[in-house]
Each structure stands twice: as structure tokens, then as C-alpha cells.
């Protein structure tokens, strides 16, 4: 077999939450038997965003905040690829906020994995959009990506996981991958992934996480219910985790953007672009200009 790029040693600090995500990605890809060459991982810039370097798959290191924009291009160019975008909370919710909101709306079948450590790890611990008030002088209310994603009226898959709960994390990631591989649309997972160096929240989060599926009235097909449950959980000082929106099959049967645009699945990257193969069509096109 041809030798491809080998994974390098993770650059993460020992104990970093991102190791949990790496393990879950490996497990999920194994379980679903996704061929390595069909998995394309688009990384953000940050500690978290280097995850693709530690896996044997197609990896592209995007620009800070632009991973979703690049991932969209990858998916639409070749809808057969399983595309995972993975990066940090700074990358996704600060500089990347515009693309983040639009990713729900565009609804390409990409898994987006945010490793939320409530800080900018790689630049040494500044406050991020999810930082609590008081952290490194932060005076802004933390952004809750789950609440906001529930506000966008598109049937996406939405979940939050915790690196300290690898079972749930892996199960949800598998579900998200299945969702996107069935071309059902965009799947967003925010993983609570502590930064042991600048914001070690392992202990705190272990106490605070609340599995939403255990709450009364849990119904991940109903945005209003989930919006309320998540908000109430927050008000109680807890952090809701679990699947927050699981649209029904009927809502999402192959509505992924790539399917809408390319129902025959033969996308830009695999189309025949030879002149011979297209001469009739081209000639007709050009003749129409008079």
C-alpha cells in the first residue's frame, strides 16, 4: 500500500480534554467503518484545531475561524466525503461566529465539533466568548451556543457532550456522523473539553453537567421544549448535555444542502470536465450568446 502521512504525536498538554475528543473520533470512525480516505477533517486554528494531525485521515488545517467555510466547500465539491470540522470555542464563536450561524442555515451535511474550553488555549488563556464573568477580566455574559442553535429554524442535529463522559460523547458523535452520512443536514456538537493549563474545569464540570435526557419532558424533536429545558438547567447552575435537537426522519430525509444541489451525487470534484465529454453541452451554451 502507498504510504500516506502518518499521524504525529499530539501537541496537547497531558490531561487536555481534547484527548477525549480524539479518542471518540477514532472510535466512532472505526465503529461506522468509515474508510480513512473518505473522511476529511477540517481543523480550526487553536490547540483543538490540530486534531487532524493526530489521525490517519485527510486533514486540512483551515484558517482561524474559517473551518466551516472550508468544510462547506469540501462537502459540496465531493458529497461522498464524510466531512468533520473541528476547532475551538474562540475559533468557532468569536472570529467564526458569522459562519457558525450560517452553517445551520445552509445545512450542508457536516459534523461540526467545537471543543469548548471556555478560553483561548493556544494563545495562552485569554477569555473566549464562552468564558464566565470574571475569567481573565471578562465582563461579558458567556455565549451559549446550544440556545442560539436552537433558535435557528432549520432541522439540524444539535448536541452537547463532555470529555469527562467519553461514552456519551462517542455515542453522540456516532449519531451525528450517521446523520450527516445520510445527507440529513448539519450536525453540531459542542464538547466541553477542559483546558487543564489555563482553565481547569474538570472537577467543576463533572459536578455541573446534567444529562438532559433525564429531565422531565425531554423531547429533542421540539425546539421550544428544549430551549426551555436548557435555559432552566442553566438557571439552576447546571450545564445541560445530551442531544438537544434530533429532527424527525420526515423533516430531514436527504435535505442536506449537497443533496439538494446535487441529487445525482456527482459533484464538482468528480464531474467529467473534459472538453470531449461536454462538447455538445458547451457548444449549445456558447451558441446561445449572439
Amino acid at each position: 500500500m502507498v504510504q500516506s502521512a502518518k499521524p504525529v504525536q499530539p501537541i496537547w498538554c497531558p490531561g487536555c480534554g481534547d484527548f477525549g475528543v480524539l479518542a471518540a473520533v477514532k472510535k466512532a470512525a472505526n465503529e461506522l467503518k468509515i474508510p480513512q480516505h473518505e473522511l476529511a477533517l477540517v481543523g480550526g486554528i487553536g490547540c483543538s484545531g490540530s486534531i487532524h494531525n493526530f489521525l490517519e485521515v485527510n486533514g486540512i488545517h483551515a484558517l482561524h475561524g474559517r473551518l466551516l467555510a472550508q468544510a462547506l466547500g469540501v462537502k459540496l465539491a465531493n458529497p461522498q466525503l464524510t466531512v468533520v470540522a473541528a476547532g475551538g470555542d474562540g475559533d468557532g464563536y468569536a472570529i467564526g461566529m458569522g459562519h457558525f450561524i450560517h452553517a445551520f442555515k445552509k445545512n450542508a451535511s457536516i459534523v461540526y465539533l467545537v471543543m469548548n474550553n471556555e478560553t483561548y488555549g493556544l494563545t495562552k488563556g485569554q477569555a473566549s466568548p464562552t468564558s464566565r464573568i470574571g475569567f481573565e477580566g471578562n465582563i461579558e455574559h458567556p455565549f451559549d451556543a446550544i440556545l442560539t442553535s436552537l433558535s435557528i429554524p432549520v432541522p439540524n442535529f444539535i448536541a452537547r457532550t463532555f470529555s469527562g463522559d467519553p461514552r456519551m460523547m462517542t455515542a453522540i458523535l456516532i449519531e451525528a456522523l450517521q446523520f450527516t452520512r445520510a445527507h440529513r443536514g448539519f450536525a453540531f456538537i459542542e464538547d466541553l473539553s477542559p483546558c487543564v493549563t489555563y482553565n481547569d474545569t474538570y472537577k467543576l464540570w463533572r459536578e455541573k453537567v446534567q444529562d438532559v435526557s433525564k429531565l422531565q419532558g425531554y423531547d429533542p424533536t421540539d425546539r421550544q421544549v428544549m430551549f426551555r429545558l436548557c435555559q432552566e438547567t442553566r438557571e439552576k447552575g447546571k450545564i445541560p448535555i445530551g442531544v438537544m435537537h434530533r429532527p424527525s426522519e420526515s423533516e430531514t430525509e436527504e435535505v442536506g444542502l449537497e443533496k439538494v444541489l446535487l441529487p445525482d451525487d456527482l459533484g464538482p470534484a468528480r464531474a467529467d470536465i473534459s472538453i470531449e465529454g461536454n462538447l455538445a453541452g458547451y457548444t449549445k451554451l456558447l451558441r446561445a450568446v449572439t
Partner: protein
């Protein structure tokens, strides 16, 4: 003449004429110029139309002009023969450009004029009364002009049918009625009918197109299959044409949420193996700066069409300029290779878009297709585009059989040419790391010193090694002329015309139209500058940006380089160039 009411000499037959149409935005000036352009093309003339509109939807002064000639032309005629004015401002502005024998036709329901050779018709009132909607006044005015120029009646109607049939029967009928109203009114004034004649031409093989359309077509035929863009004047039409053209060919067009998304969308798609492009203008281009640099560092082939308009900042969105060149040549923090190629005609827009796609994939880097507002939006006759002549060259994209023979696949393999063969994701049995961080051959992040130096030399070396692969310049005029002219993009048209005018004055000039603006092709420029005593570098910007690039690349010729610049939002007139070159009237 005319206004005296005396029997006239036989009508003068024009072989090169210009009609200018002016009014308020929304008056339909562009429609009249379009109709006239279609007509003239049908009688075998070469046609060039230009526009002068504001960045607002209705109101404000707007004008357009149509030139028709038995000779190829891509420039505004120095003097206007017929001025069609829908309001007083248009009459005042336009009359400054009117030739001594020029005729003004105006809408007398709005204002009156006491200039010689001016004829008022109450188009709006007439049409308002008889068609019910005064907005069709422009078609009536077209009718009056058709009478003035002795245009063939069925063909005059035919052009309207061609243009309006898509809009439905009612719109078509109303336009035809307005046409009749205009013609009847014109026949009522004795000096008008057949005042002039228009010579028929031989250019029956030509099509009528704009640069933006040619770029869109070149993209499709060149194998482009993924486009993402964001609306911006004067680039939007490229996206709009592609929205129509691409889907039947398994292509995708996305209107992105902004230009940051657009450039990164195409980077992702190119990474995945598609041929891609985005198009924009100044403000959007500035926003793409980081993305284009990423393509340069990660060696991802993207084409960026820049439809230049007046800068800086929001500037004058609808006006013409060529002031992004210096920015593009030095675009982005750090250093990476890029090619900037610039078509000078609509046909070249088609051809060089294909070439841009080929070059990007062959050399694996960003290619800038540098356009300008006049080239993008002005209608001009062109030889038709021929798909059979197009060559799609993908460079070293490896297919399954080639891969099977390989021991290893390194996405950034160091090679003689600096080009690393590429395998898109999804190809069985291989994968790779792609990154804009400094990396080793495997795509792994590396800050090792020898690797850094090699990788910089690999990437930057492409700009030297590719020189013979880059679009060659065109040369016009005698090789022994001692006066040189350099100009690119839409200045080619006015320069050709200036060369002819200078020829008439026995001033021989040689015009070098570079089509690769960056890197400067020293092997072309150096002999050219050697061959002349002086060289005028004609461009639409303040600083003389191309002249500056020349000073940097061939400083030993610096004494010969003279900048001729214009930065007022309007294209050069041939006479301005003649004056600049002869140093007087």
C-alpha cells in the same frame, strides 16, 4: 442643418457613429443602448457600449453610449453624433461631448432646449397618454432615433421583440406601441427622417457580450465546477450568469454569507479536487486577503476574478479603475507565489479564464484574473467563443493507476519544478495533511530551518519557473517604432484607436499589451523597452502601479518609463492618449 427646414443634401452615411443616452436612473438609458447595440450588430457593425451609472437604484444622472463602426472598436468614440436626453442635466452634460454636426433628441415633456440641431418630442406625455405608462418613453425615444438614422423598420422592431419577448406578451406589445409612437413623432419633423444613414458592415460572425459573461462562460468550458461569491458591483453578473450556466454540468454556485466565506468555500472545494473560482471587487477583495494567502501557503489552486472599480474603500462602486494591481502583486502578509493575468478583450476574458484555471491547477497556487469595470460591463462585439479550441490542463492530479505504483504520497513533495503531484481526498488508499502552517513534505507542521528554506524556495520558485507557461503579451504596431506604449485590460481599445490616430499624424508607436502582469515577464519587457526610446505606461490609477512594478523589475530602463494615468472613474479617450504622447493638442 435641419432646423432651417430647407431641402437637404442626400443623407450622410456614417461608418462610425456614437449615440449617447442620458437621463435619471430608472429612465431606461441602458435599455436604449442595448437595443441600438443589437440593431447595429445585426447590420454587421462592430459595437461598443459603455455605461455611466450611479450606485443607487433610481434617480440621479445616468448615461450610456453606443458606438457602431465598420472597424473593430473597444473604445468610446471621441465625439457623440446623437445625444438622446431624458432630462436637462443629461442634455447639458452630453452636449459637451457632442460633435459639431451632432444632433440632440430630447424629451420635451420634461424640459426645453434652445441649442442648434436639437429636437424635442414629448415622449413621456405621448407614451403616458397612449400606452398608459410613461416608463416606456425610452422605447419611443429609440423609435425617434431609428428614424433619425434611417434604420430599417422591421429590424428595429425585431430587436425589440428579441429583447422583450421573455417579459411576456403585454410588455412586448406596450414596447412595440411605444416604438410606433416615437417613430410617428419623428416622421412629423421634416429634418429627422433619414437625417443620416448608417453603413452596413461585414462583421456578421460576431457576438455581443460583456467581460463578465465571457468570464462565466470561460469558467464553465474551462472545467470550473464550483463557484462561491457575494454580490458586489461590478462583479455580480459573473455569479448570476454562473447560476444559470453551471448546474447542468454538475456544477455548484453558492452565494456565500460574505467574501471571507466565499474565498474559503472555494479553497475547500479546490482542496476536494474541484476547479473553482470566486469573483469580487475591491472591498470584497480586501476581505479575501487572508484566504488567498492561505491558498498560496497551502498550495491550493484557486482563481479569483477581481472586477476593479474606483477605490479606495467603498469608493465609487459603479465606476471604472485599475487600482488594485499593486495590492494584488503584494497581497497578504508573508510571501507566496501568485500569477496575475489580465485579458484585454472580451474574447480574452473567455480564453484567459480557462488559462487561469489551467495555471492554478498546474502550478498549485492562486491565480488572479484581473478585470476592470469597463471590460466587465461594457458590451462589445467579439469573435464567438469556441469550446473546441479550449484545452483543459489539470497538471499533475494523480489517478488511481499512478497512485498504485507509488511507494508514498507526500502532498508537498519537493520536486524540480516546485510542483507536488496532488491526490484529492476521497481517492482510495491515500490521504494527506494540507496546511497553511509551514510544513514538511508530508504536510506536518515544521519549523525546522532547512525545511523552511526549502519550502519557501519551492513555493516562490514557481514564479520564476512558470515564466514560459504564463500568457504572453500582444504586440501591435511596427517593431521598429521608437515610441512604446504599455497598457492592459480595457485600455487596449483606446490605445488601438490612439495608435491609429497617431499613425494618421505619422507617429509610429508600438503597443505592448502584457497579459501576465505579475510576475513581470522580464524576457518580454526587457527587449521591448530596449527597442524603444520612450515608453508610455497607460493605466487607470493614481500611482502608475504597473509602471512602478516595471521600475522594480527592470530598473535599468527607468528613464524610458513615463506614466500616463487617469483616475476619475472614466475610461481613456483615444484623444487624451494622443495628447499625452505627442505632448500637445
Amino acid at each position: 442643418m435641419g432646423s432651417e427646414g430647407m431641402p437637404r443634401p442626400p443623407a450622410k452615411i456614417l461608418a462610425d457613429l456614437s449615440v449617447m443616452i442620458g437621463g435619471q436612473g430608472g429612465d431606461g438609458t441602458l435599455t436604449v443602448s442595448d437595443l441600438l447595440g443589437r440593431y447595429f450588430r445585426k447590420i454587421g457593425l462592430y459595437v461598443y457600449t459603455s455605461r455611466n451609472v450611479l450606485s443607487r437604484i433610481r434617480g440621479g444622472h445616468a448615461d450610456a453610449s453606443v458606438r457602431a463602426s465598420i472597424h473593430p472598436t473597444a473604445a468610446v468614440k471621441p465625439e457623440v453624433d446623437v445625444l438622446l436626453a431624458f432630462d436637462e442635466e443629461a442634455a447639458n452634460l452630453g452636449s459637451k461631448e457632442l460633435g459639431p454636426e451632432g444632433v440632440i433628441i430630447y424629451d420635451s415633456s420634461v424640459f426645453t432646449l434652445s441649442l442648434p440641431n436639437s429636437y424635442g418630442f414629448p415622449f413621456a406625455t405621448l407614451v403616458g397618454g397612449q400606452v398608459g405608462q410613461p416608463i416606456y418613453k425610452n422605447t419611443a425615444a429609440y423609435g425617434a432615433v431609428s428614424v433619425l438614422l434611417g434604420m430599417d423598420e422591421p429590424l428595429t422592431r425585431g430587436v425589440i421583440e428579441e429583447r422583450f419577448q421573455r417579459r411576456g406578451a403585454e410588455a412586448l406589445q406596450k414596447n412595440l406601441k411605444a416604438l410606433e409612437i416615437g417613430r410617428r413623432a419623428a416622421f412629423g419633423v421634416p429634418e429627422i427622417p433619414g437625417h443620416w444613414g448608417v453603413q452596413h458592415g461585414e462583421a456578421h460572425d460576431q457576438i455581443l457580450s460583456i467581460g463578465n459573461q465571457a468570464v462565466a462562460l470561460g469558467f464553465v468550458v474551462g472545467g470550473g465546477r464550483f463557484f462561491s461569491g457575494y454580490p458586489i458591483t461590478p462583479a455580480t453578473e459573473i455569479m448570476e450568469y454562473l447560476q444559470k450556466y453551471l448546474p447542468p454540468f454538475h456544477g455548484v454556485v453558492r452565494q456565500a454569507e460574505d467574501e471571507l466565506a466565499a474565498i474559503n468555500n472555494v479553497i475547500g472545494a479546490a482542496y476536494a479536487g474541484a476547479r473553482v473560482m470566486t469573483s469580487t471587487s475591491g472591498p470584497g477583495l480586501s476581505l479575501m486577503t487572508e484566504g488567498i494567502g492561505h491558498a498560496g501557503a497551502a498550495e491550493i489552486p484557486v482563481v479569483v476574478a477581481d472586477c476593479q472599480r474606483v477605490g479606495p474603500s467603498t469608493g465609487e462602486p459603479t465606476r471604472h479603475e485599475q487600482s488594485d494591481l499593486a495590492h494584488l502583486a503584494h497581497l497578504g502578509h508573508g510571501e507566496y507565489p501568485r500569477f496575475i493575468i489580465a485579458p484585454g478583450t472580451v474574447l480574452e476574458c473567455f480564453e484567459l479564464t480557462v488559462e487561469a484555471l489551467n495555471l492554478a491547477e498546474k502550478w498549485r497556487l492562486p491565480v488572479i484574473l484581473l478585470l476592470d469595470q469597463a471590460l466587465c460591463q461594457n458590451t462589445v462585439t467579439s469573435p464567438p467563443f469556441d469550446a473546441a479550441k479550449v484545452k483543459v490542463e489539470r497538471g499533475q492530479i494523480l489517478v488511481a493507476e499512478q497512485i498504485a505504483k507509488m511507494m508514498e504520497y507526500k502532498a508537498y513533495k519537493l520536486t524540480e519544478t516546485g510542483i507536488s503531484p496532488y491526490v484529492p481526498p476521497g481517492t482510495p488508499g491515500v490521504w494527506a495533511e494540507i496546511t497553511g502552517n509551514e510544513h514538511d513534505e508530508w504536510g506536518h507542521v515544521s519549523v525546522a530551518v532547512p525545511n523552511r528554506v526549502q519550502m519557501m524556495q519551492k513555493r516562490m520558485g514557481k514564479m520564476v519557473k512558470a515564466q514560459n507557461d504564463l500568457p504572453k503579451g500582444n504586440f501591435f504596431g511596427p517593431a521598429d517604432a521608437k515610441i512604446g506604449i504599455i497598457g492592459f485590460g480595457s485600455t487596449t481599445g483606446p490605445i488601438w484607436e490612439a495608435q491609429e490616430l497617431l499613425n494618421g499624424k505619422r507617429v509610429a508607436t508600438r503597443f505592448y499589451q502584457p497579459r501576465t502582469l505579475f510576475p513581470i515577464l522580464v524576457h518580454e519587457v526587457d527587449p521591448f523597452l530596449k527597442s524603444v526610446d520612450i515608453c508610455y505606461v497607460v493605466e487607470h490609477n493614481y500611482s502608475g502601479q504597473f509602471a512602478n512594478l516595471l521600475r522594480e523589475a527592470v530598473p535599468w530602463h527607468h528613464q524610458k518609463i513615463k506614466s500616463v494615468v487617469k483616475y476619475d472613474g472614466h475610461t481613456f479617450r483615444a484623444l487624451e492618449l494622443v495628447r499625452a504622447i505627442t505632448g500637445g493638442a
